[in-house]
Symmetry: D2
Subunit: 327 residues, 4 copies
């Protein structure tokens, strides 16, 4: 169990996209190039099959094969050190199956959202649900994936951690994709007896206010923007840690301006991931179209996105591999 406790995500951990072909199939072959692209930026840890990865739009077989491919081309090549796999789904049995598969495939950690349709009315039911999934891969570090705007499940994560830690030996922390920094501080201030550091590994998921989460005690980001603007996000972390708030705010603002463009185009494309995939292609890493209910931008829409990015100076910001400050 000590090996589980030692696992930790930190700094910038991209939630990776799922490469697809224009006919809607998974483009497994593209993962090799994508893992090299990320490794060149300085990425050491990735999060698979989450919201950014459209995990909820994939079949069980596709999700498994994506895991296997990342383990092979990312991890075994030495490019990516740690792989976290999201195993949340519509029913507990599927998630247990994905958890077991992830363990056998050799991933480093798993994560899950709570039930998506029958939303638990009490915290204990979420804990119980997660426990049964975690037990399917008892030796794999377990994260709760908190993203209430998508799941509709509002739960206090500090309360969850306290209750779940008694039930789930493999619990190590949470991917916290909510803007509620009050709850977040409560989480980071939970400590083990006779320890001053956080008992849990708390990764923030709303890149657009990452610097605020870091001063509240977060360990880093599991998000999508590191894929697109690694240098900017790395400087957010570095400058905040240095207490250089004025400069950190400038970098954080760049992130927000980019997110605003995502929010401008996402709705008309059926979802924000569609806009993010389009931006990623513009910086040189084409992962193809998203899957329904989203769609790729038309040529005209893609030009508009590029023009908007140009207008905020996006392409002039230093986001090249050489600027890797977080590694």
């Amino acid at each position: 169990m000590s090996k589980i406790r030692d696992f930790k995500l930190e700094g910038l951990v991209p939630a990776v996209f799922t490469p697809m072909t224009t006919d809607g199939a998974i483009d497994y072959d593209k993962i090799d190039a994508y893992s090299r692209y990320l490794s060149d930026l300085g990425v050491k840890q990735v999060f698979l099959n989450g919201t950014t990865g459209e995990g909820f739009s994939l079949t069980l077989d596709e999700r498994k094969k994506i895991v296997e491919t990342w383990v092979r081309v990312g991890k075994e090549s030495g490019r990516i050190r740690d792989i976290v796999v999201h195993v949340g789904s519509l029913n507990m049995h599927d998630s247990q199956e994905l958890a077991k598969h992830a363990a056998v495939a050799g991933v480093d950690a798993i994560a899950t959202v709570p039930p998506l349709f029958f939303k638990p009315s009490k915290l204990e039911y979420i804990v119980e649900y997660c426990k049964k999934i975690a037990e399917a891969a008892p030796n794999v570090p377990f994260y709760y994936y908190h993203i209430p705007t998508m799941t509709g499940v509002e739960v206090n994560i500090e309360d969850f951690l306290v209750m779940a830690s008694k039930e789930i030996p493999s619990l190590v922390g949470a991917k916290f994709s909510s803007k509620d920094l009050v709850d977040f501080l409560g989480c980071t201030q939970l400590t083990a007896p006779n320890r001053s550091d956080s008992k849990y590994n708390l990764m923030f998921g709303c890149d657009e206010q990452l610097m605020a989460a870091m001063v509240m005690g977060g360990h880093g980001s599991v998000g999508s923007t590191p894929n697109l603007m690694w240098g900017t996000m790395a400087r957010v972390l570095q400058l905040t840690a240095q207490g250089n708030f004025p400069e950190a705010r400038k970098e954080q603002l760049r992130c927000q301006k980019t997110v605003r463009i995502m929010l401008k185009y996402g709705p008309q494309l059926g979802g924000n991931v569609a806009a993010l995939k389009a931006i990623l292609a513009l910086v040189g890493m084409d992962t193809g179209p998203p899957r329904a209910p989203m769609r790729a931008p038309s040529a005209e829409e893609a030009r508009a996105i590029k023009a908007d990015l140009n207008a905020i100076g996006f392409f002039n910001w230093d986001n090249q591999p050489a600027t890797n400050l977080a590694s």
Copy 2:
């Protein structure tokens, strides 16, 4: 296509529960007794694998086998005339697979919820999503399953029907589980050229205000309470149709009092279906416990539910097969 157009749900159509064993497995054998129970009440049409049926908590294989079992023991025996199957899931591919299977299995209609995680921001994406599922079973009548409190997808169904009718030849109507009677009237008043009756088959899903939906032009109910109190719900329909509002209200109020008990115990059991299954067992049809994130009531809780039902007179209401007014 005319055969599709002729299909119609009407009156009381129970959304059926999924029988389970105490170890959480599906109790396929129990479906025989359950179909006989319903048939004895006068049921002619059923809705499978929806919210009541915990369809969202079942694996694809389980959902398929449930369909096959109902077709065999319910339909082939002549007990149940029509079977509608909910094929909604977390991703379009699984739903297409379920739709194809339902067609081969010989069901009479299918239905689906919209995407549950990536909630479409525009109506056209919901239509497009449904279209691709409907196309997997092009000769099977298709219903949209509208249940915004659970899915988080608020969409105007009148607008949906108008737009979807151009894209989905097999569209016949909607299961409308929302209390918004303004939208519902808009739907029932959509008529075919030179026709005065509704162009779409509109089944209401909130039993506790069924009589209001009927005067607004609904064709009946697809809900859970007909399982529990067939006579009461049948009298709601009959008395409303007769314009006998004072008596209809008394029956409707009985339904509401029962629903209030469901709402009292549902949250502490992890979900309302858990409470409903407990009530169904009390009237003689035991379908076992629900699946996580719900749980069965304890012996003490079950006694409390029974006492509350007793207090409202539930067991004295005429809900026996002989009172079947809707058949």
Copy 3:
């Protein structure tokens, strides 16, 4: 107290607009013509200073003078039999002052919304708040004004009536401006001992689903559309009472189409009352512009509203005084 209990609103009770001049002042003189316009339609009872009357945008002095004017030109002339005054405001003291004034002015009933800023977390605080206002006019029948979409205060009105009836001797009922017909039925089915009729006077406020509320046991409508389309709304009541649902639905649909136009233009004018005042002017009763934060439509917008009304046939519907079916 028996005199209080005998008071009853029924049928169509227009929530009246507040006439204003183009410079934003109250046009008290216009109330004479307006009361004659309503009386000619067949109106017997009116509701003052509510949402339609922009009561929340008026000063205390203005609200008092409006009451005095209606009592004089409406009631003393014999045109309007009963006047109900909304006395809700931001603080209890102002509402008590308005209640006292209404009593002295000779109105027939008062009504209030709950606290608007410090929204009570428990039902008992709403009851206590209402009690203190009702006590300022103890001999005047008291209504709770339930309009949760505007106030943000979600409360079960059945529970309110049961609790408040023990504290507020002058309580007679509620103006129920919510689409929740489950709660509404619960309210209408509350009866006095050894009585079968409703203990409370329940007036519905969402005209667009009025017929559903009537079969649920409502006594009529306090709303804005009777100002604009008296005949249509009167036929909704009459046809529903007759059990002629197909024809009632046609009239109800006309109401909804008109409301849809209100909802189309309301937001761009700062609020729905702005659109309604514009429509009222088009049918011959000009009550001037609304007050900030709303504005009157531009000439171009007014033409567009008229064109949209024309397109649904609004001006061809029989809404003349002679068609008064509800009087």
Copy 4:
């Protein structure tokens, strides 16, 4: 206008409570002692008649007399340097009257919430509304008071500032009582031409995540907790400015624990201000009970609040005047 531009709130600015007697009247005499209490802590600027001050539960006359009293006993005595007055109400005319009065009374700035009942659907209507209030006191610095959880008006404040700055010459900033730090950063990064500091004065209102707001560029807090725990909140500011995040988090956590107690008792007392007044009394400054719809705690409830505060160590934290770090 340059004098207006020079006005600035910074550091800890208590939103002050309104002292009341047990019979519900305003205890104007108590303001003298209260202003001395605050001055002894090191307070230089205060915010009157806002949420903490129950401004929304007071009559116009009461609000005016409170302003006059604070100007006299607080400002003219030299104890309090700057007084900001909230003038928001239910209607524009009352707010204009309060703004005029505030100007004559000699306050340093005014603030307003947007319309509370007719919630503007478009930003331009909020701007127009505020403009008309600001124009009633054209030489007094104007703040927008953003508190969407209470008002129900969700508006992007960055967009508001940009639009309003063209219409309202006296606009200087916002009291930002929302946890949305994305919008907050957007606001702080608005700069005047050729300037690097914020163009607007941005005071944060959610004390429980104050340190995060400060790194995002906030200028301080207008909140209630500085009344209760000045030293703690002052250290939050000081330690955050020093980049000493681990120690700052400890102080911030103390604030959160106190807020959790407020949230535990607030609902049963009718509102959070009731709980805060009770805590303030426990630290030696009794401002009496709150006004309806809130109530003071019973003796038993007061003991429970004290016990809970004891359990978190509240009374051992250094919150004495001598610890004044922010003055």
